[in-house]
């Protein structure tokens, strides 16, 4: 697929900034996205190359604006919905529930 993931030889992206003592995860949700991706890999409903192809199907503009684990999360959600584990409506409902819980928590 000729997508935004294939960056070799592209101009204008600037230098790679190395982070001293870089942590494995920069946010708690990244740790969870990584763990759920590996756990679902063990399920066997898809393989590594299907996971890569799923990440490649992110809309190119969005792909370039988002971080590494956002690509992982996108690929995971795409495979979970394509293989029938979750519906998009269920994911959206859960996101609304979490937003409501967060808002309720901040008001108390």
């Amino acid at each position: 697929m000729n997508g935004a993931h294939d960056l070799g030889g592209m101009h204008g992206f600037g230098p790679i900034n190395r982070e001293p003592d870089e942590p494995v995860f920069h946010a708690e949700w990244e740790r969870r996205a990584f763990a759920i991706t590996l756990a679902m890999g063990a399920h066997g409903a898809w393989n590594l190359d299907m996971s890569r192809y799923a990440r490649e199907r992110m809309e190119p503009g969005e792909y370039l604006r988002t971080s590494y684990y956002e690509h992982w999360l996108f690929g995971l959600q795409l495979l979970l919905t394509e293989k029938g584990f979750l519906s998009e409506a269920e994911i959206e409902q859960r996101m609304r529930d979490i937003a409501d819980e967060t808002n309720a928590g901040s008001e108390s």
Binding site: M1, N2, D6, G8, G9, L38, A42, G44, N47, L48, D49, M50, R52, Y53, E56
Partner: protein, 115 residues
Amino acid sequence: MPVLKAENVAAALREGSTARLAQDLPARFVCGQRVRVANINPQDHTRIPRYVRGHVGVVDSDQGVFIFPDAHARGEKVAQRLYSVRFTGTELWGPQGKADTAVYVDLFESYLAPQ
């Protein structure tokens, strides 16, 4: 695929998994041989970076036999030999490249043709 039980998770993570296969296959190319990379543009998964498509390189090493990712992304498990191919900067980037730049790309056998 065997069920991964909770008590086996730590060992499974420690050992990891590999796409390398024990199966042997005849090698179509030898080290030092000039090869041209296929110019293909499939809408699904491939591991050929765009910047080497259609270009000529030299086989630097034979990496062995692996699961072929392009077919695996469609759910087919096919064994194929993988080579590390060396390209010069000028071959890939023309006048903006350097002749003494060496770019190594791992490429599967079906991506390559004798040159």
